[in-house]
Symmetry: C2
Subunit: 230 residues, 2 copies
Amino acid sequence: MHPYEEIRTELLRRIDERTWPAGFTVPHEEKLAAEFGVARGTIRRALTSLVDAGLIERRRKAGTRVVGRKSHSSTLTIPIVRHEIEAKGERYGFRMLSDTQISASDDPRGLFGDAQLRRTLCLHLSDGQPYQLEDRLVSLEAVPEYEQVVFDKLSPNEWLVAQIPFSSVRTTLSATLANSQDQHYLQLSDKDPVFVVERETQRGDLPITFVRMSHPAYSFKMVTLTDELG
Amino acid sequence: MHPYEEIRTELLRRIDERTWPAGFTVPHEEKLAAEFGVARGTIRRALTSLVDAGLIERRRKAGTRVVGRKSHSSTLTIPIVRHEIEAKGERYGFRMLSDTQISASDDPRGLFGDAQLRRTLCLHLSDGQPYQLEDRLVSLEAVPEYEQVVFDKLSPNEWLVAQIPFSSVRTTLSATLANSQDQHYLQLSDKDPVFVVERETQRGDLPITFVRMSHPAYSFKMVTLTDELG
DNA sequence: AAGTGGTCTAGACCACCGC
DNA sequence: CGGTGGTCTAGACCACTTG
């Protein structure tokens, strides 16, 4: 246990037990350094990790204050679907259902300006059963080499994540009734709900890909964990 | 722009443009410090932020390697429902539908051992319309003072987040058809999908609360953003 | 204007772990 | 064993922002 960890634990304890209640102004770095008998840098190390955890806020001159919780946040990791399935000990497979080139002006969302797009519709299977339907648009302007890629062994999902860096992602989660595509390929009726993940990926200001991934609701839950410090 | 930011940007560029491809071993800290003409600590600052972003991995002796992307991750923030509604410029309200004390042995999930539980069923309204149905169990063993709280102005959601520290949270997101409770209070039919967030909160090993929050699918999307560096 | 956090340096020593 | 990352120090200077 390093000094900065012990200090962090002690600070956590004070916040936890309301010795330092929400809104309280924490002693400044020099003072804490003196109290704990360490260099200022070591105190900073501990405080920075509390900032990252969202437990305190710091402003120059104003000082360091204990934050009142306003929300729970957790990190949502969306793995490559093959890894997700294999992690459950099931057998992964996928089928390319359609693979066409379209003009971005045909995309009602209008995310891609007037670029040429490759649209792939791909079914991911777990132990031979439909697991996820992936409907993807990729801009050939942003990723010219994508036009030539053959998806025999690797799915578009996997190829892109491995090959293409991105700078920002917007993810939307929703529940809805299966649309006609979902019904057909996931073997659902029009009364079945699906869990839908939609993702827009950009590199700089250039849109790379838009993907809609739908899961039969009966077989899908997304789990996230938050582990706060201490 | 501080030196460590400029260095991080330059390192990002090298990873982005495959000058340093996935699997590549990055020069060690001393070498980078010499290259950029800064102290080793400044290099560390830059490298650490790349570790946090998941772009590189570091191991003693083995060195620093560029990671091949395996997933997208983003931070999912679940705000207090009142804030969520007010942020949209709508009027928040809530109605307590039922408020009972039960024994944990009546909870089929068996999360709470044999503690006494307070169970609240609460409807959150946006501009007077049903927005979220919250079905919550709170352990009176973990939070004795919860037994006496009166929820006239503050909802259980808000009271707990503000008052009770936690150490870990397990969140599950799913899509499902409205159950009978959902149908009744959210004014849905048995063919309507709902977006469900379930959360188990613990402090240490002590379970504090389990909550199921259901949203009518037609009005709810959860959006998360990832902003990678650069 | 001054107090506070933010960055940087130059150095030391340590601990892990691959060779 | 020795090379690498991880931690710590003692100091300096800077930049933001509040009183």
